[in-house]
């Protein structure tokens, strides 16, 4: 269905552009099992969805702090990400709505000798907001910014694998890597790495906010708002429709919802699932729901007792009724996880078997196998990990009882959760916003030497495969390797991937859009350039 759906969408877009007649479209639609009526309405709404230039888009974002900085290395969340990257800037590459990497500032990119070397070509005629053309020098400076000795950048560890980074002529940048990495283009699509103008002293100018994006910075008040004006000579065709885009930091979800209802903003992220039904009934608003890469997990330290025993680990995996949690805590907004951190929409994702669904008998059996009658342990949670971490844990506690597992839920302070609990306590709630590639995800959190290996899981086979697959350019082989890795992690790993959360966001009906990307919230954080007003 998903496949045809995409086809249909594509067709629709053509139809709307007039490249496809209404009849042709309808036939296509019927062919793919859609009723005539449905097809007509689809066409009609699509026609209505025809982009119009202009208008002001106001977006309410549930993040933003007074400490937010223009330094891309420090972008903590959606607010800075969407406003200061997705709206204002571009990286070398971009992940499109279907999860493929495509060029952005870079026109093209080529691997060499087993993906150990990558050559990026800077797009012709692309300029900064101040009119200055973008050169390879700027690109190098922008990325070097994160590599610097005393860099505080979150991307620093991402770029570790780069051994040399140099400009080869005005529009060519050459990367040399420690080992082959077929997915390197994905890496440089990260929102921490926008391309910024180089200063004369060789360092990069991140302060001024001069970038290459579809909109130029008007005003940025950390923790309050950021506003942007259209960039008339943007390098992408048919992107950036609005005259002006404003981001408001509205941390209180109720306030955010009210602002949307009262029409003071046209778009909000992170809807309150509790009130979604009411929201859906609002005549002039639409709720969009995308299951992204992000996943809510509980991770155990596999080096600590009793979690050092794989059977115990699996018993615990079987003791959670994920459907019930999804149903009750997340009111069905998300996709049940199967202890595999790779989202279904990611390339090479598989669904390992047997699925870890609620099964008290299996759990007890595994416990017995581990020589245990009952099991009792502390679970440290806080909603700082992910909204609903506490409720889910409490619900899980109930489920686990039936499996002879006594979970002692400890509510930790939100403040400093990531410093004092995560990676410290043996069993904690955690969250990964996900990564666009298997390699990236695994390298970040499950490789033996990963900085954030929050399960402390070191599986030799897994790590070999990881290295091997990285430089493997044969798609089929890679797929196989990745499949095996995911299986190993699923069977042996210390993570309980409860579910992939959906980005539940709401917007005014007057807004139009194409297929919504799944890699980040707010249409891959690039809503400002991808969406438009239909009326």
């Amino acid at each position: 269905m998903n496949e045809t759906q995409n086809k249909l969408n594509a067709a629709l877009r053509q139809a709307v552009r007039g490249k496809l007649s209404r009849r042709e479209f309808t036939q296509l639609a019927l062919a793919s099992g859609v009723t005539l009526a449905a097809a007509n309405t689809m066409f009609a709404s699509a026609a209505r969805a025809e982009p119009k230039k202009g208008g002001v888009l106001k977006i309410g974002v549930g993040h933003g702090a007074t400490t937010d900085s223009m330094d891309p290395g420090l972008y903590p969340d959606q607010f800075t990400g969407t406003a200061l990257w997705g709206t204002l800037a571009n990286s070398l590459t971009e992940i499109d709505a279907d999860g493929n990497v495509i060029g952005d500032v870079a026109e093209s990119f080529e691997p060499a000798d087993g993906a150990k070397k990558w050559v990026f070509k800077v797009r012709k005629g692309i300029t900064f907001h101040n009119g200055k053309p973008v050169t390879a020098e700027d690109v190098v400076a922008s990325l070097a910014h994160h590599q610097a000795e005393n860099s505080k950048s979150a991307a620093k560890s991402l770029l570790k694998e780069i051994t040399s980074l140099k400009a080869d002529g005005p529009d060519t940048v050459v990367f040399e890597l420690t080992g082959g990495n077929a997915d390197f283009p994905y890496t440089v699509s990260d929102y921490h790495m926008p391309i910024m103008p180089k200063k004369d002293d060789g360092s990069v100018d991140w302060e001024s906010g001069i970038r290459t994006g579809a909109y130029s910075l008007d005003k940025f008040t950390p923790g309050v708002q950021a506003s942007f004006n259209k960039n008339p000579n943007y390098h992408k065709e048919g992107k950036g429709w609005f005259d002006r885009v404003e981001f408001l930091s509205i941390k209180d979800v109720a306030a955010r919802t009210n602002a949307l209802l009262s029409g003071e903003i046209q778009y909000m992220d992170r809807c309150d699932l509790k009130t979604l039904d009411q929201l859906k009934q609002s005549p002039d608003h639409t709720v969009s729901e995308i299951t992204g890469y992000g996943h809510y997990i509980y991770v155990m330290n596999v080096t600590a007792k009793p979690f050092d025993n794989p059977d115990v680990r699996n018993a615990i995996k079987y003791s959670m009724n994920r459907d019930d949690v999804l149903e009750k805590v997340f009111l069905g907004h998300g996709t049940v996880g199967n202890d595999n951190p790779i989202a279904p929409t990611v390339k090479f994702a598989v669904d390992p078997q047997p699925r870890h669904s609620y099964n008290p008998d299996k759990a007890r059996e595994l416990l017995k196998k581990a020589g245990l009658e009952t099991l009792s342990f502390d679970l440290s949670v806080a909603d700082a990990a992910f909204a609903g971490a506490v409720d889910s844990a409490i619900l899980w506690k109930e489920h686990a009882k039936a499996c002879g597992i006594e979970i002692n839920v400890i509510r930790e302070p939100d403040d400093g959760y990531w410093d004092n609990v995560w990676l410290k306590k043996p069993f904690v709630a955690s969250y990964w916003s996900g990564r666009p590639t298997v390699d990236w995800m695994m390298t970040t959190a499950y490789a033996a030497d990963a900085a954030w290996n929050d399960t402390f899981w070191k599986n030799p086979k897994f790590n070999e495969l990881l290295i091997a697959a990285r430089s493997e350019t044969d798609e089929a082989k890679r797929a196989a390797m990745y499949a095996e890795m995911q299986q190993i992690l699923h069977d042996d790993g210390g993570l309980i991937n409860m579910l992939f959360n959906s980005y539940v966001e709401a917007h005014a009906k007057t807004l139009g859009h194409g297929k919504i990307a799944a890699n980040w919230q707010l249409d891959g954080m690039r809503i400002a350039e991808r969406w438009w007003y239909t009326a």
Binding site: N150, S151, V224, A255, N258, A259, L261, E264
Partner: protein, 323 residues
């Protein structure tokens, strides 16, 4: 004005002392807070080296008391230092410029509320004392009680629902910036102001009533009655002048509350006030900002109480004209 002057100076002295204690207390509890600025900013993404880089830059690697002394020294020079955020970059954010607009907003809202709330509560209070146990009294009492009794944010949301969503008379968002003009600002701040008014009027009105009623029993009120002064005039002319002291105190208390206690309302209406700034700063461990906010809050509190004391002096002949 001698006794007044004396008290003022005395209180100012004590005030400074208090400020000092406050700064120590705040600094200490900040030091105790789990995690530092770096961890707070980087969150899940914190790695030892980045954290180290941060701390080196901010100077958090030096002992606490050194940092405190430096800070207090700066304050004495009138320099509140720089926010940790943006340090190291070429654009430092000085605490004062960070706070100034927020403080303005907070005071704006406070003033707006006070202008309505204070006279209103006095009026209601006097009337309630006048017509004690009348229906008016009972109704005003119950209503104010209920407003006291309901969580602020609940009231806030209700108002929002009725006046901004059901009938779009006001904005749900009170986001204002330096560029918003006065009227716009007032309009945007209207709902928060109403909420706060509801919250504090209750308190002030009840205290006014109580203060007056306490005096009704005093012999000179009976005397006034026996001199043929009608009750209304008696209360206004004979009771009120003696009730100012307690009333002033409670007003001061509530005004202080308007400045320091409105975080919740700020959050609900997304009003960029200083309360939210401080909460943010606390959660991000931005010490200079927190300290500055705390001092401002403390100072406000002290000054308001001082003025309350002054009022009670100048309205009390015993203190104003000693024998």
């Amino acid at each position: 004005m001698h006794p007044v002057l004396k008290t003022v100076l005395q209180r100012l002295g004590l005030g400074l002392l208090t400020l000092f204690v406050v700064s120590v207390v705040i600094f200490a509890s900040l030091e105790l807070l789990p995690g530092g600025f770096a961890e707070a900013i980087l969150g899940q993404g914190a790695t030892p080296e980045t954290v180290a880089a941060f701390n080196r830059e901010i100077g958090l690697d030096r002992p606490a008391f050194v940092r405190y002394l430096e800070w207090i020294g700066g304050v004495l020079m009138g320099d509140f230092g720089y926010s940790y955020a943006g340090l190291g970059g070429s654009i430092k954010r000085s605490v004062s410029e960070l706070i100034a607009p927020r403080l303005y907003n907070t005071f704006f809202l406070a003033a707006m509320t006070a202008i309505v709330a204070v006279p209103l509560s006095l009026l209601l209070g006097v009337l309630a004392a006048l017509y004690r146990n009348s229906w008016y009294d009972r109704i005003v009492n119950s209503v104010t009680l209920t407003t006291i009794a309901t969580p602020e944010f609940f009231i806030a949301y209700l108002l929002m629902f009725f006046f901004a969503i059901k009938n779009k008379w006001f904005y749900t968002l009170s986001t204002v910036s330096g560029s918003t003009d006065l009227w716009e600002h007032m309009y945007r701040a209207a709902l928060p102001a109403i909420t706060l008014t509801l919250v504090i009027v209750a308190h002030m009105m009840r205290m006014t009533r109580a203060a007056l009623i306490n005096l009704l029993a005093s012999p000179y009120m009976e005397m006034a009655q026996l001199k043929g002064v009608p009750r209304r005039e008696a209360i206004i002319k004979h009771a009120l002048p003696n009730a100012w002291a307690p009333i002033a105190t409670v007003i001061a208390f509530n005004l202080a509350y308007l400045v320091v206690g409105v975080v919740v309302v700020e959050v609900v209406y997304v009003y960029p006030g200083i309360g939210q700034l401080m909460v943010d700063a606390v959660s991000s461990r931005d010490m200079p900002v927190v300290q500055a906010c705390a001092l401002i809050f403390a100072a406000t509190y002290i000054l308001l109480n001082l003025s309350a004391d002054i009022v009670s002096i100048i309205t009390n002949p015993r203190l104003l004209h000693p024998k």
